[in-house]
């Protein structure tokens, strides 16, 4: 086991397999759960987890140690999640062309988002699905701050380091996210 983060990074740079395993054991749950908080699709969350660790292991030499290793890993995770969300939106936009030139049933490419998080207790499952659906429509910054705070239980300080912003900005983002979610949920339950 590595006592110091810097020792761990040095071993990673040298290509020590046991260092890879240590990093994975330390951060895989956080990465996977953060991805699930953004994406709510198990397969995509696993793909993102893989991409994050591949990037960490490949570019650890470029890690400048200006922040904590965990901050860096969270930052990569959030970036990968946002990239996937953007590509999902792009796919939706071009769905009309896709329907003209392919048969989704035949190709088996029908993409389904169930908004189901495996970590939620069953009695809250329906409400959490509704909540994740509304989180999906939040602006990117509010979404990041809200998910990191509510799903990952990170402090405002940690979130401000990940998002490279001030603590007061993070507070404001989370406040606005909650207000937006409240409005959307009120509209949803009124219907």
């Amino acid at each position: 086991m590595y006592s110091e983060e810097s020792e761990l990074i040095e071993s990673l740079i040298k290509g020590d397999q046991s260092a890879y395993r240590s990093i994975y054991d330390l951060y895989s749950t956080s990465v996977y759960n953060t991805a699930m908080g953004f994406i709510t699709n198990k397969n995509d969350a696993e793909d993102i987890t893989q991409e994050v660790f591949v990037q960490v292991f490949r570019s650890v030499k470029n890690f400048k140690k200006e922040s904590k290793l965990s901050t860096w890993i969270y930052r990569i995770t959030v970036t990968k999640c946002l990239d996937l969300l953007r590509s999902r939106k792009a796919k939706k936009r071009f769905a009309i062309f896709k329907n003209i030139f392919s048969d989704p049933e035949k190709d088996g490419e029908e993409y389904f988002i169930d908004y189901e998080h495996p970590g939620i207790v069953e009695e809250n499952s329906e409400m959490s699905k509704t909540l994740f659906k509304e989180i999906d429509s939040l602006p990117a910054n509010q979404r990041i701050a809200f998910v990191l705070n509510k799903v990952e239980k990170l402090s405002y300080q940690d979130i401000s380091e990940i998002m490279d912003t001030s603590v007061s900005s993070v507070e404001s983002l989370i406040f606005r996210a909650k207000a937006n979610l409240r409005k959307k949920l009120e509209r949803y339950y009124r219907e």
Binding site: S28, Q50, F57, V121
Partner: protein, 124 residues
């Protein structure tokens, strides 16, 4: 639902993720990561995503080219037909003119060689 019930429901929904448990990824994830490190990961899904839209645009482009050439050909046909019609009309006009000229020549001939009593060259 009244306003109080809606507020309660909204609060319950916002708090539904409060006691969320952390879930573990696939137990074979680490091996998957090591495999991906060893080889270049080919994003098949992205390729086919791009490929399908590229094919779609290529088809649209070819349809436009085809329409353009079809239009060009139909314009040429129309202009050829117009020229034909114009020449036909002009031929007919020439014939009419020639016929009229022939008629006045005949009248002059009749005037010169026949007397008034023999041929009434004013009659139509």
């Amino acid at each position: 639902m009244n306003k109080n019930e809606i507020n309660k429901k909204v609060n319950d929904t916002l708090n539904s993720i409060e006691n969320m448990e952390k879930t573990q990824p696939n137990p074979f994830m680490f091996e998957r990561i090591l495999n991906a490190l060893d080889k270049k990961v080919v994003y098949k899904e992205q390729k086919s995503f791009i490929g399908k839209y590229a094919l779609g645009f290529a088809v649209l482009f070819l349809l436009n080219i085809f329409s353009f050439f079809t239009y060009q050909n139909s314009v040429k046909d129309i202009s050829n037909n117009t020229t034909k019609n114009t020449s036909t009309i002009s031929e007919k006009t020439n014939k009419v003119t020639t016929t009229q000229q022939q008629s006045s020549t005949l009248k002059d001939f009749a005037k010169e060689y026949f007397s008034e009593t023999d041929y009434n060259y004013n009659s139509k």
